[in-house]
Every structure is written in C-alpha cells, then in structure tokens.
C-alpha cells in the first residue's frame, strides 16, 4: 500500500502536461485498474479503485493561477468582541484550520505561520498585522521576502435583531515559485472557498459550543477493506487527521 501511496503522491506532483511521471501515472494506473477489474474479488476491486485514482491524478492538469483566493462568511451566535478576540490571537487559527500546523505570535503584531504541504512538507511565512480595528476588522500581510505573499482580511459585523456576528474572511495567496504554488494549491484543496467554509464552521462550533463536533475515534464495527483502501487512496482526504485537531484543542484547554 505504501508503494501505491508514493506513486499516488508522485502522480499528484506531476504538473507538466508531458511529464514522464504523468504519463507513467496514466499508463500504470490504467493497467492497475484493468488488472483489478479482471480479478473478481474485493482486493481486485481495491486495486481497480487505486488504479482509477492514479489515472485521475495523472489526467489532472494542474494550473498555477497567479493568486489563490479563499473566501467565505458565517453567522456566529456571539458578540463581535468574542469573535474578534479569537481571531486576534492568530495562534487560535490552527485549531480550526487543519492545514495550518501552527501559528506563533511574537511581539509587534508579527507572527510566524507554518502550513502543511504535500508529503509532509512545510510552508513557512512571517506576517504582520497591517490594520487592526478593535471588534471590527483585522488585516494582515506576509513580510517582504517571504516565499509566499499572503494577505488576509477578517471583518466582524453585528447582525440585525440580536442574531449574532457576521464574520467575513478573505485570504489571498500569491506564491513566488511553481513548487510553492503546488504546495499551496494542495494545502487549500480543490476548492479554496469550500475549505474556508469548513474552517469557519469549525470556528463557529468552537465559539458557540466550546468544542468541535467529531466522530473521529469513536467505536464502530468492522469496516470494509475496500473502503479502507479507497480512503487511503483518496486524493482529497484531510492533510491532518481530525484527532490531531482535538489534541491541539485539549492542549489549549489545559493551558486555559
């Protein structure tokens, strides 16, 4: 399985339309799928699925858009102060954004962000707050010379009739090199806005209920091996398992 995974990853990194890796992924994946389909067994099915995933990754032509934008908004049942205070400590963001390994805040509105890229690689950048209006909005930017240009804005608006606070977030990423662009695209997943919406849902749940809902780690009966194989081969599976999010959360709570 590890072999398949490393091939899959290789497929994911193949970006040039004519890259031999991409061709390899297409041919190898196709062969694997055919071989799997000819075996009428569960393992055959898994093989076919893995082959199919490989073909999919090989066929996918990665493009590097100049700027990647992730934006979304959410209504949170809290005051603008509560929402602002959570965001103002950027270290909190790694709790609700699984693609962030950590954010470390230093003095003078500066912070160091570490995000998870493909194959366990890390993307690191420093940022500073450029505009800070208490309980209304925060704007931050990566420092000049970072491998990545990042610009983030979060706004907090009081919703009418005591309906809470409208939180609007926009993050823009402009990578300086192709490799970084790939890593950022991978980090944000296929649909940056979708990922941002999930992040905001976690944020909302945490603020409103004090926890992030999860079934990760719950008891269950025996799972199907086919589904397990598909899950490992799933190119869109979360980079950091939810259980780690929970560990961070528990650590936070202990400190508090």
């Amino acid at each position: 399985m590890n072999q398949i995974r490393s091939i899959l990853r290789a497929g994911a990194r193949a970006t040039e339309p004519t890259s031999p890796r991409r061709l390899g992924a297409l041919i190898g994946g196709g062969a694997l799928a055919l071989l799997g389909l000819t075996q009428r067994s569960k393992s055959g099915l898994a093989m076919a699925a893995a082959g199919g995933a490989l073909v999919y990754l090989g066929a996918r032509v990665d493009r590097h858009p100049g700027v990647l934008v992730a934006q979304s908004s959410i209504l949170v049942n809290c005051s603008p102060q509560e929402a602002y205070q959570f965001w103002h400590n950027f270290e909190n963001l790694s709790i609700v954004m699984p693609h962030l390994e950590s954010v470390t805040v230093s003095s003078g509105g500066r912070s160091t962000w570490i995000a998870l890229g493909p194959m366990g690689s890390r993307i690191v950048w420093d940022a500073e707050i450029v505009n800070d209006r208490e309980n209304e909005s925060i704007m931050w930017q990566s420092l000049p010379g970072s491998a990545l240009f990042v610009e983030g804005t979060v706004k907090f608006e009081t919703a009418p009739a005591n309906r809470g606070t409208l939180v609007k977030v926009e993050m823009r990423y402009r990578p300086r090199s192709g490799a970084i662009a790939n890593a950022v695209a991978r980090m944000l997943g296929k649909y940056p806005n979708f990922v941002m919406r999930q992040d905001l849902r976690r944020f909302k749940a945490l603020i409103e209920t004090g926890e992030i809902p999860t079934i990760e780690g719950q008891t269950h009966g025996p799972r199907s091996k086919v589904v397990a194989a598909l899950r490992v081969a799933d190119p869109t599976r979360p980079i950091r398992p939810e259980s780690q999010v929970r560990e961070v959360l528990n650590a936070m709570r202990r400190i508090a």
């Binding site: 209504l75 049942n77 309906r163 809470g164 979708f194 919406r197 999930q198 849902r201 909302k204 749940a205 409103e208 209920t209 004090g210 926890e211 992030i212 809902p213 999860t214 079934i215 990760e216 780690g217 719950q218 008891t219 269950h220 009966g221 025996p222 799972r223 199907s224 589904v227 939810e242 929970r246 709570r253």
Partner: protein, 399 residues
Amino acid sequence: MKAVCWMGVEKMSVETVPDPQILNPRDAIVRITSTCICGSDLHLYNGFIPTMEQGDILGHEFMGEVVEVGASIRPEKLKPGDRVVVPFTIACGRCFFCERQLWSCCDNSNPNYWIAEEMMGYSPSGLFGYTHMMGGYSGGQAQYARVPYADVGPLKLPEDVPDDKVVFLSDIFPTGYFGAVNCDIQPGDTVAIWGCGPVAQFAIRSAFMLGAERVIAIDRFEYRLRLAEKAGAETINYEQVDDVVQTLKDMTANVGPDACMDAVGMEAHDDSVMYLVDRTKQAMRVETDRPIVLRQCIKACRKGGTVSVPGVYAGFDDKIPMGAFMNKALTMKTGQTHMMRYMKPLLDRVQKGEIDPSFVISHRVPIDEAPKMYKMFRDKQDHCTKVVLDPWANGAKAA
C-alpha cells in the same frame, strides 16, 4: 461491548466492538438498559438511504444510566448514576436554531455538515446511528453509547417509572406527538393518518389529546388497525377499498379531512400502477423515495387544510401533485422532531397516568436476536409492532 452493526443491505450483525470513549468535553457515556428498533431503521436495513458504511452501529431509541461525563459537564446538569432517556436528534443548545427551539435543525452537531449540505442545501442536526450524511454517530443498539452535548439532550428520569413506559420518549412518542402538533388541530377537526406503525399509534393518541374530533387511521395490517381502534380511531384497510381518497370523501361528507398525516414515508405500499413505477425507479436508484402516501395526503386533504409529514423521506420524489397543493391553499409541516420541546411534558403525562406508552411493544428480546428481529419487523411477521432489545440479557458479558 456488544453492538448491532450494519454490514450491508439486509445484513445486520451483532459484533463485539471497543467500548465508546469520551471524545469531546460535553460528551457522556451511557450504559444502555433498553434500546429499540425504529421503523426508520428499516430504511437503512433495506439500503434506501445513502452514506451508510459497513460497521456502522445503528439505533437511536435508547435509555440507560450515565457512567461517565466529559470535563465541561456540570454535575447539576448531568452526573454518573443519573438515569436518562436520550433523544435521537443531537443538539448543541447554543446555536441560532437551538435558541429558537428548532432542536432538530441544530447548526453545530453534524461533523459531516457538508455532505448533507450538498444534498439539502443546509444540514439538519446530527442523528444517532443514521448515516454519515447525518453525522455518522455510532448509535444505541449496543451496551454503551457516547452521547454528545449531553448537558442538552438527555432527560433525567425518576427511578420509579419502568423502562417500558419511558424508553419511547427517545423518539416515537414525541415524534407522533409532533406529527399531531403539526396538524394544527382545531375543535371539531378530523385528522386522517396514513400508516398504523408505532409513530402513528402515538400520533393517533396525541391527536385526541390535542382535541381532534375524529381520527381516521389507514393501513393494511389488521392487527395494527385493531390497535388504532383501541385508541378510538376509525379505520380504513386500503387493500379492501377501491380508492382511499374517495373513501375519505365519503366518510367526511365530501369535505375531506382537515389535516392529513403521512406517518409512512419513503417506502409506502399500494396496489396501484404508480406503486410499481415508483418501486422500479427506487430499485434502479433513480428515485430515492416512493411518495405514494404523500400524493394521497395532498389529494385527500380539505381545502386550506394541513399536511403533516413525520414519515421519513430521504431525497428526491416524483409526481408530487403541486397543482393540488397550490390551488387548494394547503400548508405542509415537516421535520425531524424537535425532541427537547416535548420530552419533559410527555414524561409528565406518563407519570400522571394519562398514557402508558408500553402498549405498543410486541416483542422483548435479547440484543443477540436483533438481526432476526429486523427481518421480522420489516416483513410484519408475528404481529410485530415494536421491538425492544435488552443489551444485557442472555448472559451477555459486561464488555
């Protein structure tokens, strides 16, 4: 511990699985003393609701004793030793919807929100043991269960009421009651209720509690119709009449029932051609539901009346008579039950002796027999109305 697992369509099995653990600060672990098979579990058994996975633990009607609580649960809310009945909808108690008593629409309790969002636009609350689209939470047909947001859902019970009288506060009694509330019953009203399963039995009794003049119950199984008659309902065996809608017209002096309740849902039966069409489409998975009863409800309802739908629908339905629905100025009320609105008031009614919910039980068996009971309940063998499972009977080991 022992747990009833979904291992595929029509494949249930009692497996030994790890005991549940506290995963979040507002969780509790409940040692289950009584748990039931619900009619809606049969939709999963028959494989008509997507996003089930092999190994999922079913069951959303259970009660028992709290054995462990998470760090954020205050002792005055819940503590080990408390005897509780657990509602099937999971609600956080803090969101926009919970604050407005729309508990089954809780915004935070579904960790797989996005799956339901794809299909329905927005996700309702998480449910126990009812597909990954609805959260993927392990259910309560087991010896223990993990209960999230345990300071909101579980209702504490006095020691002197036996399990049989209160276990149905977990779903079917409040659900039947909610179905009747949604009928918006006015003095003199006639309510027609399709289906005479357990939820409908409670709906019939609730409709009378809420002041209905007449209740007309519709089914094809005589033993279920007899149970409806015991509550004071008039009955129609739809296999013995030409046309249910016409029969209802005749019974109501051409006015029609003031409210019509669909307590059947997505797997309705009929002897018409449309049934065969729906059945075929459902088997080919081009239509998730067979909305035969819903069509009849809309057609039969009097002008300006109300259609209440406690029956479960999963996805997409064909040939809904929107023309009749619009032109007759009907109102439709639906939803998974907002459990926490009704559990306490209904417990009070049980304690006062106004109703003994145990009338609906037809089978009490050890949990090991659950797979057999699913089939029996589905096929309506042995006059099966409601199955209560004992997780600890038959020398079942303490995990």
